[in-house]
Symmetry: C2
Subunit: 369 residues, 2 copies
């Protein structure tokens, strides 16, 4: 029996390199609490991206939480109606109110026209997501945020390694947040980071992640959102392999593009021309000819031992959020967007297996119900 093909496998560096990094942490007896390895990881990210203001956190979710807290957001934060739940949940846990806005059709990122209409006197920030690593409409969103006098935050959870107009995508927006979760291109098992691009925010995030301690007392919005020294040490080791992982994923993407061309009922999602590489995930969109919808496809593929995800649908959708208006395109995306297995060590044989399973589902769509 063949093992299931999962959606993503983490980049795991050679044990010898991990072992010596881990040994050093235990030898030092400094296992957490903003130790030297957390600061080294911050320096590494800062140097590679050319962004001075960087603070790491315990997760990508707490990166968003602490960005909101550091900006002292009180009021409504405009978020895309199709997004991983962490985005809206982080706004809620930071004490602000997420308001869902529709996405645009082509790139699945928040729709600037809908954002423009959604801005009110209660709006305190725009929190856009670079979905699956594809940039949101940065220029239009920047104009709207400036006109409204509110900060523009980019949830760039999946955007390590992505460039836009020759610069790291993470350097756009007043503030950007990153995930260093195990499924990401570079990771610290669990982790995240906040980048202050137009304003210095890292100092406040460092204070907030450690209970907000300070000479004037502890901040109300403080919490424990630290990255452990162990996770930070692993982050540095993993990071050394990130460039290789990009190259591998680029090859995997190529195999997919070739193999998926045979199918007329789905195709890889579009990616903005000025950005790349598109190696965060492999989202596909089902066309009107598709024999099944996204959730039925996920179930049917699982029966073939292939894990896929309809991230905008069903179990991933946060209930009861406020909406600025109708969200027909986000509702469409819930029924038509599916992520296929995608990571660097996938082989051409694995891709053939995925595409064969897709073909089998198309032949017997009735079984997908």
């Amino acid at each position: 029996m063949t093992d299931d093909l999962v959606v993503v496998r983490p980049l795991v560096p050679p044990w010898d390199r991990l072992k010596s990094a881990l040994f050093e942490v235990f030898e030092s007896q400094v296992l957490t609490n903003d130790g030297p390895r957390v600061r080294q990881l911050e320096a590494l990210l800062s140097t590679e991206l050319g962004i001075a203001d960087v603070a790491v956190t315990g997760s990508g979710t707490t990166a968003i939480q602490l960005a909101c807290s550091a900006l002292e957001l009180r009021g409504e934060v405009l978020v895309p109606a199709a997004a991983f739940p962490a985005t809206a949940q982080a706004v809620l846990r930071a004490g602000a109110t997420p308001v869902e806005v529709d996405i645009e059709d082509t790139y699945l990122t928040i729709d600037p026209d809908a954002v423009r209409q959604a801005v009110t006197s209660r709006t305190c920030a725009i929190l856009a997501v670079h979905s699956f690593g594809c940039p949101a409409d940065i220029d239009a969103l920047r104009s709207i945020a400036r006109a409204a006098g509110v900060p523009l935050i980019f949830d760039a959870a999946t955007c390590w390694g992505v460039n836009f107009r020759g610069r790291p995508l993470l350097s756009y927006g007043d503030v950007a947040t990153l995930s260093l979760h195990a499924t990401k291109l570079t990771h610290s098992i669990e982790g995240g980071a906040v980048f202050g691009n137009t304003r210095a925010i890292a100092g406040t995030v460092r204070r907030l992640r450690n209970f907000g301690f300070g000479e004037s007392g502890a901040l109300r919005t403080g919490t424990n959102a630290r990255m452990s020294e162990l996770h930070a040490a692993i982050g540095a080791v993993v990071h050394a392999g990130a460039a290789t992982e990009v190259a591998r994923r680029t090859a995997v993407r190529g195999w997919y593009q070739e193999a998926l061309a045979e199918l007329n009922w789905l195709r890889p999602c579009d990616f903005r021309a000025e950005a790349g590489p598109a190696v965060a995930a492999l989202p596909v969109r089902l066309t009107t000819d598709a024999p099944v919808d996204a959730e039925a496809l996920v179930r049917a593929m699982l029966a073939h031992g292939v894990h896929t995800r309809a991230y905008f649908a069903g179990r991933y959708r946060v209930g009861g959020l406020r909406r600025a208006g109708p969200t027909p395109r986000a509702d469409w995306a819930a029924r038509h967007i599916v992520c296929l297995p995608f990571w660097g060590r996938l082989t051409e044989t694995d891709i053939t297996r995925v595409v064969d399973a897709l073909k089998a589902v198309a032949r017997k769509p009735a079984l997908a119900g």
Copy 2:
């Protein structure tokens, strides 16, 4: 030059045992996301404590957050006015309102009389802290909570290994939360746990820690509060050494008691007679004869290379919290309670060094300002 004596050093198991546990995690390629090692750690805690309903979390702070979220607390939560900031901050981040209540003089835990007076129709829970591992007044608080019809939650962050009336202290209260932070008697570097004693809460906490995913959609209060498989694996290895650490800390406490008896201006804080062992920390109270107050003592000891902490004062105090009434005893504690260095590998020579430094401060208190 002698190294500084820090307040606490983590229990670090032998490298050989850590190494094989860590190797297995990386070999499995399952690095996080509620994997088998998290479930094994839950089973281990559950078996040892005899509590069926256990869910681990990414930190002791998120354990409190998710306990509040799982109980759907909306309204005011009564908390002690002298506590580590995480307690009130977790209530805030879960969307409820902490209201500070004074503590009792002897055991420094929340004062039942003050709690009784503080209960209003807005009160949705009582969140007491077993401060430095010393139980709060469990019987009185249980009566008040039952009469008010609200849950009684114990923040038992430091209470691993403590028994009360022959049962684990963690088994008291409707819900109890634990920290598995590196400074604790048993730890997973960063980590926590929630225990449902009178109600099943672990299933909801497991859902909330993983973005609240579920067939009905994602819960608004979901977040990422997972413990990584790496931290969980380390938790199991560390735990095997916890009994030895208890024995060592008991010896260290004995040396302190003997040595501190020479000083007439401070003494170890009281610990309830029906509870023990008292090995979470070594808090002392300054008497009226003390030459300095708590914060001045911390500064003066640091000049002697000895780290101590006035956890109820200054930089640790959360600003701007609502109070149910005057809190004279919490204010007293801020000026008179100090934690001395305390962990298992301290030697009798180390204790002599701490006490010599205390004597030196008493001789030249003016330098403490």
